[in-house]
Amino acid sequence: MSSSIDEKLKDILTKVLLLDESKISDGMSRKNVEEWDSMAHLMLVSEIESAFEVTMDDDDIMEIQTVGDIKKTLKKLGITI
């Protein structure tokens, strides 16, 4: 189950931020991924929200800086990756 969740998240990250799937790591952040601008951030959040059927808190969305932060926020909403 958790692997399929991971696949979903990987697919979104790969496509929104134009990443190489095999290189995705928790440390990737808004600072070192060129494509991760505010529009992409909004897209990322919206795709994750619909894929996992959750609504993130606006404050949490603002605070997300890394891939790891996304997982943390999802965990807060009861989704463990």
């Binding site: 697919d11 790969t14 134009l18 190489d20 529009m39 919206s46 795709e47 609504t55």
Partner: protein, 621 residues
């Protein structure tokens, strides 16, 4: 960094191939995520290195009062899927006015071919407009205010560029503070927007540069509650939801394709399981499904849309594997076929390869393969066509005929930026050409021609359903009108009630082209032994087809049946009714005395009669 590595991995792969691969991803799975991904990755390719002919290039600028970047993504990808090479410029968020006003803005430097100006009504109105609307008076002035603002910026665009300017109309809100009373209020909230849209359309009706895109219509089609994603709207000022983006993008693509001459002019159709259900060669004319019951009604409906396209100038053609005799017989004789031979610019029914047929159709009709769309239920035929003739638009037909009509209606490949009278008649003209070639010798008389129309008429006493049309005809018809007597609705209703004194007849005509509806009215004043034609009139649509003779013949027959010996015809000449001057004399009436400008003619029913023209099929009801 990743894209660099990827390109390192396949240094030899040409850009065009990489582009196709990215587009294939969208073709296979047209999700929002894939649109985004393909767009962003394509922007990273060295597109400059592609050699693109000018006619395939298009520059689209988007100006908006909200975040419109996602629409840019869809227009980019959809243009590429249509074999175009777009460049997209999205003006910074909510700076559309500055961009338009400033002559040195990036907008003008970009030199767009198309400018999409997407503005919400909200931003053009005072902040209090929504909350205080109920208290407002003279709301027209707010409409005028919006339209003035619009006109000012649009006229600047048209003065400074040659670009096609696409402005949208406004989504009529689903909510109204008046609730169920909105259309009872002096100025309803929804009515405000309906009227605003009408006035906006009126403003640019005659323009060849500015087009009003029907955002309201697209939103209704999609479902207004699904057009806006509140999360995206409040967080990011995104007005269009993920599900609505492809729909509204298609709306804009209709204009872009028309501008770039990607318009399809001809729909090429398979027969079995496309025009009717079943296989004509096996099921026979009685066995195929086409009619008023399911699933035959779905096929009939599909034909109706095709016919409406035909009437607008889209050519139709047939490409089918069948015995030509079987298929033509069904087209000619099946009572529920709406499309007959004459609607087709060319017909290829044989057992040869459909690709070969397509090439021959293109030659016969003399249009390019890139102007043709192909509809076939067989996926293998479609695949072969796609591979052999990629210029042809091969429509992905749904497996259920219930969805045929919708599929056809959703194609936006037949648009023109202007429609001429000739366009509307194109189908007829092609057919006429075909007919002339085929039948030049065989049709020699008017009667033969009329017979070929397969005309049917229905003559009946006026009923409530037909009355509005009858009243309108009585008050509007000038040319084929023997007395030009005008009667009000109330007067007609009175006559209709007085069955012992008056008979009001209506005449309906239909032929192979379709149903013309009520095209004739007669009022007979009944006295013992004498009937008088108080009124007798015909729509100019059917003049020259001798239906007047049939109409008169029916009245004569009724009079004789009632034992009436004399039918009197009245005639009052006017400046416009010259066509009926000889109506009575040509039908065997004798002239009676003239009273002022009232001429009276008499038909002695004991000696003479009027015969029903034999090519007309009269139906009693």
């Amino acid at each position: 960094m990743d894209s660099k590595e990827e390109s390192k991995k396949r240094p030899s792969e040409p850009i065009s191939l990489q582009l196709e691969k990215l587009l294939d991803q969208v073709r296979k799975e047209p999700t929002h995520l894939n649109y985004w991904n393909a767009h962003k990755r394509i922007q990273k390719l060295d597109l400059e290195s592609l050699k693109v002919p000018d006619e395939k290039k298009i520059k689209v600028a988007l100006l908006s009062s909200f975040t419109i970047d996602p629409l840019g993504i869809y227009i980019d990808i959809k243009s590429r899927l249509a074999q175009l090479h777009p460049e997209i410029y999205v003006a910074p968020f909510n700076q559309y006015q500055q961009e338009i006003l400033d002559e040195n803005s990036r907008l003008y430097a970009f030199k767009p071919d198309v400018i999409i100006l997407a503005v919400q009504a909200d931003v053009l109105l005072n902040e209090k407009f929504y909350s205080e609307f109920v208290k407002l008076s003279e709301v027209e002035k707010y409409q005028t205010e919006i339209l003035d603002q619009f006109q000012t910026i649009v006229s600047m665009l048209t003065a400074r560029t040659d670009a096609l300017v696409l402005v949208n109309n406004f989504i009529v809100p689903s909510f109204t503070p008046f609730g169920i009373l909105d259309n009872k209020a002096d100025s309803g909230f929804r009515s405000f927007f309906y009227e605003l849209n009408q006035r906006l359309a009126e403003l640019y009706k005659k323009s060849h540069q500015v087009y009003v895109v029907d955002l309201e219509g697209a939103a209704s089609k999609h479902g207004k509650s699904r057009c806006l994603d509140p999360k995206l709207y409040y967080r990011g000022s995104l007005l269009f939801s993920e599900s609505f983006l492809p729909v509204i993008a298609d709306e804009y693509m209709g204009y872009i394709k028309a501008l770039k001459n990607l318009t399809r002019k001809c729909i090429v159709l398979d027969l079995d399981n496309v025009m009717w259900g079943g296989i004509i060669g096996e099921d026979g004319i009685e066995g195929i499904e086409l009619g008023n019951d399911s699933p035959g009604n779905a096929y009939k409906d599909f034909q109706r849309v095709l016919l409406s396209y035909y009437n607008r100038g889209i050519l139709l053609a047939i490409n089918s594997k069948n015995n030509p005799e079987d298929a033509i017989k069904a087209i000619k004789e099946h009572p529920h076929m709406l499309l007959r031979e004459k609607h087709f610019a060319a017909i290829m029914i044989n057992w040869q390869n459909k690709v070969q047929n397509m090439i021959e159709l293109s030659k016969k009709i003399n249009i390019g393969l890139d102007s043709m769309a192909f509809m076939d239920d067989n996926p293998r035929e479609r695949e072969q066509m796609k591979q052999s003739l990629p210029q042809v638009l091969v429509v992905d037909m749904p497996s259920s005929p219930f969805l045929y009509r919708q599929t056809l209606e959703n194609l936006n490949d037949f648009n023109l930026l202007a429609l001429t009278e000739e366009d509307k008649k194109r189908g007829e003209m092609y057919h006429a050409r075909k007919m002339r070639e085929e039948l030049r010798e065989s049709i020699s008389s008017l009667e033969d021609f009329l017979k070929s129309l397969e005309m049917k008429i229905v003559i009946k006493y006026a009923d409530d359903l037909g009355l509005p049309r009858i009243v309108r005809m009585i008050n509007k018809t000038n040319q084929f009108n023997l007395t030009t007597r005008r009667y009000t609705d109330a007067e007609i209703r009175k006559m209709k009630e007085a069955r012992d004194k008056f008979d009001i007849y209506s005449l309906q005509v239909s032929d192979r082209l379709g149903d013309e509806g009520i095209v004739g009215v007669a009022i007979v004043h009944k006295e013992p032994n004498i009937w008088t034609l108080d009124s007798f009139l015909l729509s100019c649509r059917v003049i020259g087809r001798k239906v007047e003779t049939a109409f008169l013949a029916k009245i004569v027959a009724d009079a004789r049946e009632q034992g009436v010996s004399t039918l009197v015809g009245e005639y009052i000449p006017t400046q416009k009714n010259a066509p009926v001057k000889n109506f009575y004399s040509s039908h065997g009436f004798e002239k009676l005395l003239q009273k002022g400008n009232l001429y009276r003619w008499r038909l002695d029913l004991t000696k003479s009669t009027v015969k029903m023209p034999e090519w007309l099929m009269a139906k009693n009801e």
